[in-house]
Point group: C2
Chain length 293, copies 2
């Protein structure tokens, strides 16, 4: 499965490289460079991988889902760039390199995020993504919902409030369902839509993605509590330092790891209907549990 | 024509009110309130007006172009909120009220812009905007291009560079073609597309919009140089204080006003083909020249 992840990551990397404008010699050069810096040569590409593998589950070859996969990754990268800003999480390091506002400047980082968010939608709207305009709009609506106030932006807003006032465990689960879960679910939904899945099949895939997304976030909290900066590629111990309520601070390390394990098992069970065809997605769930980055 | 502008602005205001989520009692309340603060109860609504009036030029009643008009205004408002941020233009006043980051905080202002950009696309992707998915995607592609690196974001990036290094007159025209012109052109293009215009008609409308957009920006520079804060609703004299190259600093007040006048005349001439049906759009061009806000 790690081979498949690396293989698809290379495909996605090449597609992103094609889709992002090359820096020209004009006054927008710095911005164009910063956009590429924010996206290329980094990350596990987990969300596009989930999209490509879900599409494959329904018989669609990766080449025909690659633009949608790149769009999802653009949206993910935009959210990282904006979340890292000084007014938000104020992070200096991302994927083992300085964050965009550290490598460039704050104004450029704001514009980079805006540009990536805009281009994610532009890529989906293009007929090259899929010949059917109604389907493209469904992908667009899904991405906008996952990225909007009912999704990632809402989650980040809750996260900002949470740092001040603290949250109960159910609130934290809700926060992460917005902040991380929505886009992971949308990746799988988009793959299923592109693959022509039936409603019932889409629902099975979404149950998988929902549990996977929450497990992913719990492991993120564990890595922040236990990992080391060099391996994780971003500063660790930030949550505790900020006095942030996390799964680890609420449940303790052991119970948090156990909860992630249960969620991963349930995610895998949700795909039982697909038999051996779902093997890679099931092993992806195991990877989410054991990952060190 | 001022009556038509006020009438359409009220329609757009009501549509925006319907489309923006009402604040709930949860932890996203502050963000939801700030989104509405950024959009409602302010502004001339010139871009949606141009969209509605162009649609009307081709026989489409406003009710059927209102969602697209609201989407254009959301995109415009997002760009104002982000451009006003401390790391960008650092403005305290907009439409006679504190800017979003002053009324709330910087993190909220970043998220408000992100949310409005996202929702603009969500509104266009929805079948309620138009039954034809391919046409909705055309509107989306146009808005993404006008808003992206080839449009507003690119213009803002040039503007940030320009403050340091200075620009020639041709560069300033290019900057504003990106920063202001692209969205004004897109408003007219979207109205024409929704109205079912022929290619030749779209081109005439775009010539009008291109000249109108540049005239609009020259008048903006004149108001910044000559207007007073109370009437304009935002601080004036900022360009000169920042040592910014503007049409006024390059051409002088008189030549700048003459150039705006020529552009407005040419804009009106571009619509001659439509005869009396284009009267409101032609009077809008006169308004752009004489406006005091």
């Amino acid at each position: 499965m790690l081979d498949a992840l690396r293989h698809d990551a290379a495909l996605v990397e090449a597609e992103l490289d094609r889709l992002l404008p090359l820096p020209d010699s004009g006054p927008r050069r710095r911005l164009q460079e910063a956009v590429r810096y924010a996206v290329l040569d980094g990350g596990k590409r987990l969300r596009p991988f989930l999209l490509l593998q879900t599409a494959r589950l329904f018989g669609l070859p990766p080449a025909r889902a690659l633009r949608a996969a790149a769009a999802i990754e653009m949206l993910h990268c935009y959210s990282l760039v904006h979340d890292d800003l000084p007014a938000m999480d104020d992070s200096d390091l991302r994927r083992g390199r300085p964050t965009v506002h550290r490598a460039y400047d704050e104004a450029t980082a704001i514009l980079v995020g805006d540009a990536l968010l805009t281009q994610a939608f532009a890529v989906l709207a293009d007929p090259l993504t899929h010949p059917d305009g109604d389907l493209r709009c469904k992908l667009l609506s899904g991405l906008a919902e996952a990225g909007g106030i009912a999704g990632m932006i809402g989650g980040q807003a809750i996260d900002l409030v949470a740092e001040q006032s603290g949250l109960a465990l159910a609130d934290i689960e809700e926060l992460h369902a917005y902040k991380t879960g929505a886009l992971i679910m949308e990746a799988c939904r988009a793959g299923a839509l592109l693959g022509g899945a039936e409603q019932q099949e889409i629902e099975a895939v979404l149950r998988y993605a929902s549990d996977l997304g929450l497990a992913f976030q719990i492991v993120d909290d564990l890595l922040d509590a236990e990992g080391d900066t060099l391996a994780v590629g971003k500063p660790v111990g930030q949550d505790a330092a900020a006095g942030k309520a996390t799964f680890v601070s609420m449940l303790g390390t052991e119970a948090a790891r156990a909860r992630a394990g249960e969620l991963v098992q349930r995610a895998k069970d949700s795909l039982a209907y697909f038999g051996g065809r779902a093997a890679i997605l099931q092993r992806t769930a195991d990877f989410v549990l054991t990952r060190q980055v």
